[in-house]
Symmetry: none
Subunit: 202 residues, 4 copies
């Protein structure tokens, strides 16, 4: 693929990401995507077989870029404090979710879109939104072996309790645009409560 085509493809993916996020899959029009990318509608079909294919490309690109921080986590075991590491992670998950959640919601509209997501997952290194759970579990297990987490803690469950916090926060904040409430105030407090349940007592 030529340099120019590569750039066009990139512009299309970026434009599409914005439109899918704003409008969802069904209400995103190829016209608006093309306009924002500064190309004609026909050009979309030179780079992607159809709208779903374009969505898959968007989804893969967003996942690929963002999960890096998350997958790198297990290597941090033993450094800094567990609390510092987890708070950093929770931020990272939240960042990813903020981008991916709207796309996931967009996809939930269209059953056939699952196909695009699955192929996107295999294309990206980490996986779907469920992905963070695994590296997080591995990290906790590593800390457990290092003696910084109680031995009687089920690390998979703990990972889930932790992961649920930023996950829920993002969805809640998206709704908050309408309701006015925000979950940000409670996130750190919630993490600390989980920490008290899993850390070695002082």
């Amino acid at each position: 693929m030529s340099q120019r085509g590569d750039t066009t493809k990139h512009q299309l993916v970026d434009a599409a990401a914005a439109v899918f996020t704003e409008r969802g899959f069904a209400r995103a029009t190829t016209r608006e995507i093309a306009e924002r990318a500064g190309v004609s509608e026909g050009t979309i079909y030179r780079h992607f077989t159809d709208k779903r294919d374009l969505f898959g490309a968007v989804f893969a690109s967003r996942n690929a870029a963002d999960f890096e921080a998350i997958t790198a986590l297990p290597a941090l075991a033993g450094t800094k404090t567990v609390r510092e590491n987890l708070l950093f992670l929770i931020e990272a998950i939240q960042d990813v979710e903020r981008e991916v959640a709207p796309l996931r919601a967009a996809a939930s509209t269209d059953a056939d879109l699952a196909v695009a997501l699955v192929s996107a997952r295999s294309a990206s290194a980490a996986g779907t939104a469920v992905g963070p759970l695994e590296p997080l579990t591995h990290y906790l297990e590593a800390e457990q072996r290092l003696g910084r987490i109680r031995v009687d803690v089920d690390c998979a469950s703990a990972a889930f309790a932790l992961f649920a916090i930023p996950f829920a926060a993002v969805t809640m904040n998206r709704l908050a645009r309408a309701t006015g409430a925000s979950a940000d105030n409670y996130m750190v407090g919630a993490v600390d409560i989980v920490l008290r349940g899993i850390l070695m007592p002082d």
Copy 2:
């Protein structure tokens, strides 16, 4: 409205709930809704001003029925054990979410739909999906006063940590249809970890 009209309206709301859940708002067609309700398309517009109005009715009806269990929670303070009460609650939230989450996702497609949701919220006693947080916080505060929860716990944060668990689980399980993973195995474990962080030590 006559008996006859009342029944028809009910059938329409039920049919619409199913179609909105399956297809999202944008891809739900009035044709399919009417077909499933066993009436003609035109009949929809005798009972609702437009598709959005119908969606609002669906949303309100689903919320109204289900939030009862959740809002009744604070009264349980002091009865049974805290763990039993919370596990019961977590089930209830999960039940509500299973119905409401797809509708919420459906709504996220259409910015103007927030209007329908807001009016639906004021119509129902309890509130939107963000609603459970408040009664849950009240319950924990009551238990704190009764001495069953540590005094140094921030009940709002604890409520958030608990609420996040079924909330995340439902979304995750919806995706799991495609990925195969399920969050059900970790839910109780996750709740127990939070509990260890907030309960009075034995």
Copy 3:
């Protein structure tokens, strides 16, 4: 027909006349007509076979009432002055036209509506909008025999020239709502010019 039915029918015709005049035939809805008449939609079909039939009834009722003045004209020959009689007539034609023109425009939308009009014409004493021409011609011929109009005047042509004045004025004034111009200022002047062309020289 019972007293009550007669009243209902009347209310329907009056309501329909208003709605047809405001909206034209195609955009007049049976719902609005029924609402204004204070009855249910179904009731319309108890008194008229369909919407066109109702339009025909409206058209006939408006024509019947108003053409009386016009048809009585020939009898005035020899009384007062020709100018007075004609100015009176021109007013009368304008009054009729103001009511009938919108209905005629409404009808021009629907080819099949001609049927309704024709049957309406035979029902009413006078005839359609073209009607005034004949009595006007007869009046002028009578005045001609009486020596108040030149012998070399073709009365049919003169009738047409006179009739055209209020006829055009009404249509022009209807458009004037949008344009702001009014034809009223020129009507009497126009009649006088025609009069100078047909009256016996002093």
Copy 4:
């Protein structure tokens, strides 16, 4: 716009003019217009924002072409005979009216359509159907200055009397399709009567 698009637009305007004339605005369907233009329905919306916009284009195109003859009239003052000039003009007005009158009737159906007409008027050089009055008045005044029309004639009223003739004739002939009567026989006679009222006596 490309050559191809230009042609299509033209075909659409022509087809729409025919359908609007036949059926009026409300009963003209986009389907029929597209069919007659030999394009698909969707194509309409590439060239016009909606049905009203298309109507405006039709109205403007019909007015623009035809008013040329009428606006050129004042320049004829002093040439030929007044009678020849006016008979020529009356023909021209009738030609314009034959095309515009049905569109005007079509528009009277839809209040919002006045907007389209007004913008169409400003687009065309001369103005709406009320337009001919002004150039006609100017012509008569010029002839008056040249001594071919009596000094005591009010030219605006005379213009109105003359204009009313073809104006009424067109509407009458449209109805005549149903009634069988025609106004054509009386037009020249009517003009001559007005002429006798305004010309200098021999």
